[in-house]
Every structure is written in C-alpha cells, then in structure tokens.
Symmetry: C2
Subunit: 329 residues, 2 copies
DNA sequence: GCATCTGCTTTAATCGATTAACAGAAACTT
DNA sequence: AAGTTTCTGTTAATCGATTAAAGCAGATGC
C-alpha cells in the first residue's frame, strides 16, 4: 500500500540512468540503436521504478494503438465465442490486444462505441452490426481506420466483410429437410437482417421443390422469444408444420423447449434445424442439427483484414451441415 | 469513398469558425463559458467537417479515459453474461464505456492485458482473475488506477472485491443435498481457486452431517472436461456417489450428459447441483438445480467501485437456491 | 469620470513519448 | 594523414487537446 500517486515517466528513467529521454525511448523501442550497457541499465531502472509507459502519449505521437476493437451486437450469443477466441489468438501473435464491446442490439450504443473507438485511434475495428452496416463505419474507414464487418448484412456497401456464406447455408439446411421428405417448413426468425440470406437461400430451395417456406417474425433473436412464439401458436397451426428452420441455434433451442413442453415429438412430428453450431447445440434436450462455418478461420481473417493498411477484400466461408437427432432419429 | 486521409482536429474547427482552439475546446466541454453563437457555429462545423476528437490527446492531458476495463478469465462462460450486461448499463449511465478483454485462463495474457490497460490509463479495471488475485493488480491500484476483483479469490489481499458469497453458496447447496437424504456426495471441480470457497462451504456442511465430501479435480473448468471425468470413471465408483455438486453450471451440464450417456438416472440414482444459474441451466437435458447470485447487482457494484476515486470496500452477495428437476423429480 | 466588474476570447504552457536532425568520438579506408 | 563510416547519444520539434492566466470590451457603480 505504498504511497506513489505520481506515475513513473520516461523522464524518471532517464534521470535515474543519467541519459536523455530520447536514449531511453530508443533503448525501449530500438535497442540496437543504443549501446548494450545502456539498454541493460534502462531495463533495470524500468523494473526498479515500475515504469509502465503512457499509451496515450505514444498514440498521440504515433497515431495508432495496438488495440483492435471488436464490437458485437450480442456478446451473450455463444456463436461469438469461437470467433472471438480465434481473433484473440491471432491478435496476440502480433502483440496486439482485442477490445470487446457489446452493443446489446442497441444501434445507439453501437454508434457510441464506433465513435469512441475511432477517437481512441484503435488499429482496426471489427463490427458485428445490430442491423445493416451503418454508414458511420464506412466513414470511419474513409478517415483511415481499417474496418471489417462481421457478416454480410447489406448497408454501407464499401465496407469489406468476413462472413459465412449464409445463402449457401440456408440452401444446405433446406435441402436437408427436403431430402428427409419434409413438406411444410417454417422459418423462425423473421426478417431480421442477420437472417436475411439464410432465409433467402432456404426459400429458394423450397420454391424449387414446390414448397412454401412460411416465416415467423420475432421481436428479438433470443431463446425466450422463440420459446414464446412457438408456445403461443395454436396447436393446430403449429402441427401444420413438419419442420422448423431457426435463424440460429439459440432460437432453435427455444423452439425445441417449446415443442418439448407441448408434447410435440422431435423429429417425428417436427424436425428442427438451427444455425451456428454453438456448444450447447449438441447438449440440447434433443441434440440439434445445425449448420456451421469455420469460426476460427473467420476470426483469424477478420483480424488480418483489420490490421492490413488497406483492407478491401471481403471473404466468405462455406457452410457445413452437422446432422444430429433433431432431424434424424 | 472520399479521399480524406487527414484527421479533422480541433484546429480545423477553429479555423473554420474563425476563433482560437481554446474557444472550440470550451465550446465543446464548457458551453456555458462561451457565447451561444459560437457554440452553435462550432457544433455546425463539427458536424460538417466530421470532427471526432482525439482521445489520446485528451487523455494525455487529463490523465484518465472514460473507459472501464473488464478482464475475464473465460468470456465463453455464460455466467459472465448477466454480469457484463449490467456493468455495461451502469457504465453507460455516466457516459462510460466497457472494454471487455478475455484472458482465456492464461495468466500471461491476463498480465499483458493488465499492463496494457494501465498504460491506456483507463478509468478503472475490473478483473475476474485466472487464479488468485495477482500482485500486479494491487500495484496498479497503488499507482492510482481504481481496481476491483470480481470474485473473492485470495492473493493480493488489499484489492477490493465484488463477489457472491461462495462459502454460503456451498453451504446452501450441500444442505439441499443432505435434506434430500443424500449421503455420498461428490464435488466436481477440484482445487481450482474459483471454486475454493464453494467447496469449503459444502465440505463443512457435509462434515457437520457426518458425511465425507469427495472431490474430483479437473484440468480445466469446461463442459468437456467434466464430461470426460465422469465418463472415464469406473461405473462402480461412479455409483458409489448418490449426488454431485459441480463447481459451476458448465461442469454440471457436462456431468449431466455423461450420466445420461451412461444410462444413470438423474436425480433418482444421482442428484446433480450446479452453480451460477446460467441461461442454459434451465434448458439442460434435465433442468438443473443450481445456486445463483444477483449478477446484475454485482455488475452495477463492480462498476461503481471501479469508478469511485478510492475504492476499498468489498461487497459480498448472498446466494439463492434454485431448485429444478436434477435434484427433485 | 474613473474604477470595478462581467462576459467572452486568446495566449501559451502542458501532458509523455517519438523521432528527424545533428554532433562528437572511434574505427575504417586508401 | 585526411576523408569517410559507424556508433552513441543529445537537442528540440511534434502529436491534439485542456486550462490557468491574461486581455479586452462593454456594462455598471458611485
């Protein structure tokens, strides 16, 4: 509990060693430029005095920080976990740090974080947008901060993205249901931008097979909302569907529980397929069939894009079907 | 896609309006000190030119940023979700931002983030430590950055903490099992610091009731590890236990699945109780009995502590038992 | 009429680190 | 031996914003 309200600066180190601040700075950042002896003394002094540097001062001079911002619309969705972990690892490789921010599906908050991070002069911004890609993001890019959108969501089109191929994913999911002989599918998730392409892909396949894909809108993409939606549906209407394609696994889990509570057998009466392959998909009451992307590869790619000076190339990753008991008994 | 590599500074605004930079700064930060007309013009110019400020410059001068760092050891654990959401809301109230960082249970990474955030001069640091509270954290506190430990974990003792009352939680959990007539409990989670007090509380109650609480160590606190542990246990040994207290809900879910796969009935043959009451506890194959704390209150308290200039008061929150079917059929 | 006060604005120092430009000494060329 | 490199170190400008102190009108007081 020592009293040391004053922060240790580079000047303290310089005084302690008996050289100029410039030399200390060189010793820290370009050790080869100064004599070995001085480097040693500087390092000793740093350890002794507890010097930690002042990132603000450094940034002001250099113009960028070693941080990369990752703004997500819903940090509680486990689908981000694998992505974020890979991003973290990739960032650590080059000595960078990931700053995760949660916009909680609030566009206002998203904007606030975007502005905050731009003024912080982070080295790059990865945004999983609440809705469409906001204009602000492409403006930030124009002003010099590398940005990437996580997911291909429409909106500001000049922003590069890293995304799973959602359209193809929707195709794969619906083909699976059709192959299983299902004829009356329901899409749960409604017109939310995050699900747009998944829905379109599925719809296209359904139409090609002469089926109609009904769509049920949700107020929010949460387990609870999906549960409520299915629970509130008249049984007769519910049983007019023989399969459900949920916009993501959280919704699918909500659907599974609602069906379970109402005594509807899965997959016999209704088959259920989700999207993302989160950890809990496999652990659901009925193990969940789902579609996955290589989240680790996407995480790495997003960071690499957000680091490169002029990032303009978008990348798309193919879907992979993961069959479990919720569609095949 | 306009070409504007140059960032807009306060000087650009000043020139545009025809005043000094000082006036612009006052107009932004203390509008009452400047004439209304100028404030108006400044705001117009800001909007027109797209001024976003330079947080580094501001920080260098002011000494602190409006960001609060939240470093967690495992961002994929849903137990953090409610906590983080409340923290976010509380921070937003005072115009602050939460920067979430994930140490991924790596002490090296934890240290790197601590140093990074200190050099960033964030307004406060909330740390959910990998193991015990590191010395570095209390040194950071001594150097002037407010810090809080999330969880009471031993280690650097001078650091204030916000924590559930884990000892009491362990007591509540074990009392529940004993009331149900269980005689041979197993603790899953081993000697990990995060579970220390939960285990101690449970052990104490078991001893008082004349029972022995066996403990099974895990290499990591993950669903998979718990699953493996139970799956690898000889059936005879496994069935010598009539109940399992898992260090947290993730472990409990792993246990539930392993038991399910081996055909052990829950709760008839083995009752299972977890800790944290994560969203998926209720949604597990057998809805999970668990112990919860008021995570939202803890999130708010942590932020308030991390904001106050001299935070030294620790706060503990009482546990609450949530009974579901994994202990009572 | 002269001093004082008020309101608005500017001047200039400052935060802590980086780095171009420079300088002195030692080492190397030819 | 004179010129050229190389090696170390210093000086001083700079990044962009904040803010104490000072300046300067115009209003008010007596």
């Amino acid at each position: 509990m020592a009293e040391r309200p004053q922060r240790v600066t580079i000047a303290d180190i310089a005084k302690h060693v008996g050289v100029s601040t410039a030399t200390v700075s060189y010793a820290i950042n370009q050790p080869s430029r100064v004599s070995a002896g001085v480097v040693l003394q500087v390092n000793e002094a740093i350890a002794l005095l507890g010097y930690r540097g002042n990132a603000a001062a450094r940034q002001l001079r250099v113009g960028r920080s070693e941080a990369i911002a990752l703004i997500v619309n819903d940090a509680s969705n486990p689908a981000f976990t694998a992505f974020a972990a890979a991003a973290e690892t990739e960032a650590a490789l080059t000595g960078r740090f990931i700053l995760l921010a949660n916009s909680s599906d609030d566009p206002t908050r998203e904007l606030a974080y975007l502005r905050f991070f731009e003024s912080q002069q982070v080295g790059g911004i990865v945004l999983a947008p609440v809705g469409e890609v906001p204009e602000e993001l492409s403006e930030i890019a124009n002003r010099g901060t590398p940005v990437v959108s996580l997911g291909n969501l429409g909106g500001a089109s000049s922003v590069p993205f890293v995304s799973g191929d959602d359209h193809a994913g929707g195709v794969v999911a619906m083909k699976h249901l059709i192959h299983l002989g299902r004829r009356t599918p329901l899409f749960v998730g409604g017109p939310l931008p995050q699900f747009r392409y998944r829905h379109q892909g599925a719809e296209q396949v359904a139409a090609a097979a002469g089926r109609v894909l009904e769509s049920h809108a949700l107020a929010a993409a949460t387990v609870k909302e999906a549960f409520r939606a299915i629970s509130a549906m008249p049984l007769e209407q519910l049983l007019s569907f023989d399969s459900v394609f949920a916009g993501n696994d959280l919704l699918a889990i909500g659907v599974l529980h609602a069906l379970h509570d109402r005594g509807v057998r899965v997959p016999e009466q209704i088959a259920v397929i989700g999207y993302d392959d989160i950890e809990f998909a496999e652990l659901a009451i009925v193990p969940l069939t789902t579609v996955r992307h290589d989240a680790a590869a996407m995480g790495r790619a997003a960071i690499r894009t957000a680091i490169g000076p002029k990032a303009t190339t978008s990348q798309t990753y193919p879907p992979q079907l993961v069959v479990r008991r919720s569609t095949v008994s």
